[in-house]
């Protein structure tokens, strides 16, 4: 992704878009991590059992906890890297939305059953 340092001018936004981009991309990555973990748990008994963090809730507890950790960790790293930068948001938006769309598909049982 192309990034550049913020150069203030009277017509430019008061804030760089880096912080927003970090939140958007990490939300896409977090959603996709959840879908991939759910998919992996569905396909592998070993992964499924290793995702049981809280027995009454079963693998759902591990899938969601791990995905939230991935999301927050990614968000923290990207925020730290991009906070004061202006980034190419068009491509980042596209990647985040594709990841979100894939996540919706990958969690849908008929799609999971195709693999």
């Amino acid at each position: 992704m192309n990034t550049s340092n913020n150069v203030a001018s009277p017509n430019s936004p008061a804030l760089t878009n880096g912080s927003g981009a970090a939140a958007i991309l990490s939300a896409g990555i977090g959603s996709f991590a959840l879908a991939v973990l759910a998919f992996a748990g569905d396909k592998s008994a070993h992964i499924k059992s290793s995702l049981v963090f809280y027995k009454p809730t079963g693998p759902l507890s591990g899938v969601t906890t791990a995905a939230i950790l991935v999301w927050l960790f990614t968000w923290g790293i990207l925020e730290w890297r991009w906070r004061k930068r202006t980034v190419g948001l068009g491509r980042i938006n596209a990647v985040a939305l594709v990841l979100l769309g894939l996540s919706l598909l990958l969690t849908c049982p008929p799609v999971v059953d195709l693999f």
Partner: protein
């Protein structure tokens, strides 16, 4: 008139948090759309902006409480395994649905999707609230940020809508029941 503890929790999860979130989502979509597509977003007063920030934070709380109560309070009751030889499956909703070819789809499609798709709602709306709180009126200078905020709010609405629809249908065909009974009122014989 009485209700069991499990039914009450299901009601709180579905009607209290889920349905309220869906209602709030439609309101947020309209307000964010107005805020971000208005030809002069500067016409929004600081008070209106503050209100929208508070509104979005409330949505974040509702979304997280909805998925957490669903996953950690109600889902364990839903997926409880009956002791061997159990004939009456009414206290074991998942097994009750799986016991008939006419209802198994509500579990294998409905619940299997609902249990994961619901989580996209809080993740998305948390991002939306963060971006709105961070940028506020400066969003008028970030066209692509505004577009992403609207898309993710819509995605959150769709995810919560899917989860809500299947939750409603699952509870119709195999309600989560049991626990202590709370008497709400004593009926009088006519």
């Amino acid at each position: 008139m009485e209700i069991t503890v499990r039914s009450l929790w299901t009601l709180i999860h579905g009607m209290g948090f889920g349905a309220l979130y869906l209602l709030a989502c439609s309101g947020a979509l309209v307000e964010l759309c107005r805020f971000t597509t208005s030809s002069a977003p500067s016409e929004f007063t600081p008070g209106q902006e503050r209100f929208l920030k508070f509104y979005l934070i409330t949505m974040v709380v509702l979304a997280w409480v909805a998925v957490l109560t669903g996953a950690y309070v109600i889902y364990p009751w839903y997926r409880a395994v009956p002791p061997p030889g159990t004939v009456d499956l009414s206290m074991f909703p998942q097994r009750l649905l799986m016991s008939s070819p006419t209802t198994i789809g509500w579990h294998s499609f409905g619940m299997e999707w609902k249990e994961y798709v619901a989580w996209f709602a809080p993740i998305s709306i948390t991002m939306v609230a963060f971006v709105f709180i961070r940028y506020g009126r400066d969003l008028k200078n970030h066209r692509q940020l505004r577009a992403a905020v609207l898309c993710f709010t819509l995605a959150s609405f769709v995810a919560a809508g899917c989860a809500g629809f299947f939750g409603l249908m699952l509870n119709k065909y195999a309600p989560v029941k049991g626990g202590h009974t709370i008497q709400l009122s004593r009926g009088e014989e006519k």
